[in-house]
């Protein structure tokens, strides 16, 4: 008996080429839509005299330039990113560990289920003022708030996912000779890792939300503070400049996450289905 690998045959080069030309065209379309939107925005806001409400791209660019020139953009960005980053690390680590433990150890899961359920629907943003009380108005407050939001996202996902582990798989591993230690390290943790990753992907944007909301509530610098300050001065252009900075950060973060996931979770999307014929 010998296995003959026969990857599903598709005239690969041809449809790859077709695909890549389609992709190139799509990118072009996206760029065109973006430019169109910006032009339309510029034109409409001038034509309708709505600049006070929606600003316009050229003013936003100018506001951005002013922000950058003052040196505040760099320091605001640095502060907000640091808060969100540290909050993210703390929140996802704690969420992963607690979610895993409650999800894996049935007894703990049952014990804490009422608490978990009652926290699930609680609007976490409502805790922001309390955090000012606890952690002051400095960066620690934003870090903790950001950590809290990320914690819940990672925790819930990991908890729900890890709970679904097939108990038969564990029983089978015991028959295969696995010690409790091996079951933790070779079955439980790899299994949970998938869900931790899912949780992290969902939770990442919340790190930023946490920092920004924290800055909205009480701060003297940071991207969130700048947006709030600009709003109080009715400086719509500066508000939009802040929003665009946030969008840019989000996109960079998501790209980063995708990269990590692709490397670590190759098995989830390993490529073609293999069909086989067994040679006699």
């Amino acid at each position: 008996m010998s296995g003959i690998i026969e990857i599903r045959k598709i005239p690969r080069s041809r449809w790859r080429r077709k695909l890549s030309s389609e992709r190139a065209f799509d990118s072009f379309l996206q760029l065109a839509m973006l430019t169109g939107t910006l032009l339309l925005w510029e034109w409409l806001s001038t034509a309708l005299h709505a600049e006070f409400w929606v600003s316009r791209p050229s003013s936003v660019a100018q506001a951005m330039l002013v922000w950058a020139r003052s040196g505040n953009l760099a320091s605001d960005l640095k502060l907000t990113l640091t808060e969100a980053g540290i909050g993210f690390l703390i929140g996802s680590l704690a969420g992963a560990i607690v979610g895993f433990l409650l999800g894996w150890v049935d007894r703990l899961g049952r014990l804490f289920e009422p608490l978990v359920l009652s926290l699930y629907t609680l609007p976490k943003v409502a805790l922001a003022p309390l955090f000012v009380l606890w952690f002051g108005i400095g960066p620690l407050n934003k870090i903790m708030f950001s950590a809290l939001l990320v914690f819940f996202m990672v925790f819930f996902t990991t908890f729900q996912g890890t709970r679904q582990v097939d108990r038969d798989l564990v029983a089978n591993a015991r028959l295969l000779g696995a010690s409790p230690m091996s079951i933790w390290f070779k079955i439980a943790i790899p299994f949970a890792a998938v869900w931790v990753f899912t949780g992290i992907r969902i939770g990442l944007p919340y790190a930023l939300i946490g920092a920004i909301v924290g800055e909205f509530v009480a701060a003297d610098s940071g991207v969130g503070f700048r947006i709030k300050e600009a709003t109080s001065f009715f400086d719509t252009s500066a508000v939009f400049a802040g929003l665009i900075v946030l969008m840019a950060i989000s996109m960079v973060l998501l790209g980063l996450l995708k990269l990590i996931e692709l490397r670590l979770m190759r098995w989830q999307n390993p490529g073609d289905i293999i069909t086989t014929e067994i040679g006699a």
Binding site: S2, I4, D168, A171, R174, L176, W267, Q268
Partner: protein
């Protein structure tokens, strides 16, 4: 050649004496299984000798899988006892290789990694592990698929990964629960030949559950027919066909046909 088991208690002593334990690797003693109100199996008394190939057939739901679960120690009898190698089975029995239709591959490991896993659990040396993985995959015709992930494989291939995995760590008893159900007829026949070869080579004990009479007769030294639920051994037939067997030619043996007929009636007149 065959013996009606009118009172199973009479056939084997109720307590496994030391000399019995030496010869009998597995001994079920008046074992029953109840799941709540459902009386699923028994009382069953049955012994499996060391190195024997026993096949168990019977209508579905009569407790065949239940019997295997008890040997594996994943299920406790409601009454009676199961002895393995002279010891009462009290918890997961890692001496067994348990192959069911269910796929227990972990999706984050490659084929090779999955086959390796039980050997890692058992602390087999790395070099030996590599060698055994290679051998086991070759035995089931999966050479060349070492790097594939479970997601990429068909059901029949995953089933063969399960077999390779068991083969690689070399348990002293193979519990097989309809293991070839997902394979096509041709591959099934090949696996029969392979299984007999493995059995002969390893001298392991096989308890093989199937609903396919031909399969049972082809492989086994002894076929146990279970009655309808609550199931218990109704007929035990010694298969006196010559060994080593050719899994194709043997079906043409007139004695083979006679066994099929005999077992078929036992199953049917339930």
């Amino acid at each position: 050649m065959s013996s009606m088991v009118s009172n199973p208690r009479l056939e084997v002593p109720t307590t496994a004496a030391p000399d019995m334990a030496r010869e009998n690797l597995i001994h079920f003693d008046a074992v029953t299984a109840k799941f709540g109100q459902l009386h699923a199996m028994g009382p069953t008394t049955l012994s499996v000798r060391r190195g024997e190939f026993v096949a168990i057939v019977g209508p579905s739901g009569c407790g065949k899988s239940t019997l295997l679960n008890m040997v594996a120690g994943t299920l406790r009898p409601s009454s009676g006892s199961v002895h393995y190698d002279g010891q009462q089975v009290a918890g997961p029995n890692s001496d067994v290789g348990y192959i069911t239709q269910k796929n227990y591959c972990v999706p984050w490991r490659t084929v090779e990694g999955n086959v390796r896993m039980p050997m890692e659990f058992r602390g087999v040396a790395r070099a030996e592990m590599d060698e055994r993985v290679k051998y086991a995959l070759a035995q089931v015709g999966l050479t060349g698929f070492e790097r594939a992930y479970p997601k990429q494989l068909s059901g029949g291939m995953l089933q063969r990964v399960m077999i390779a995995r068991t083969l690689a760590y070399g348990p002293s008893v193979y519990l097989m629960d309809e293991p070839f159900g997902s394979l096509d007829a041709q591959l099934r026949t090949r696996m029969h030949a392979k299984l007999l070869e493995i059995w002969q080579k390893t001298q392991a004990t096989f308890v093989f559950v199937t609903h396919d009479l031909q399969e049972a007769i082809t492989l086994a030294d002894r076929v146990v027919v279970m009655s309808r639920r609550p199931g218990c051994p109704k007929l035990v037939v010694d298969i006196n066909l010559p060994r080593p067997r050719d899994v194709v030619d043997i079906q043409a043996d007139p004695a083979f046909g006679a066994y099929v007929k005999q077992l078929w009636h036992a199953l049917d007149v339930d």
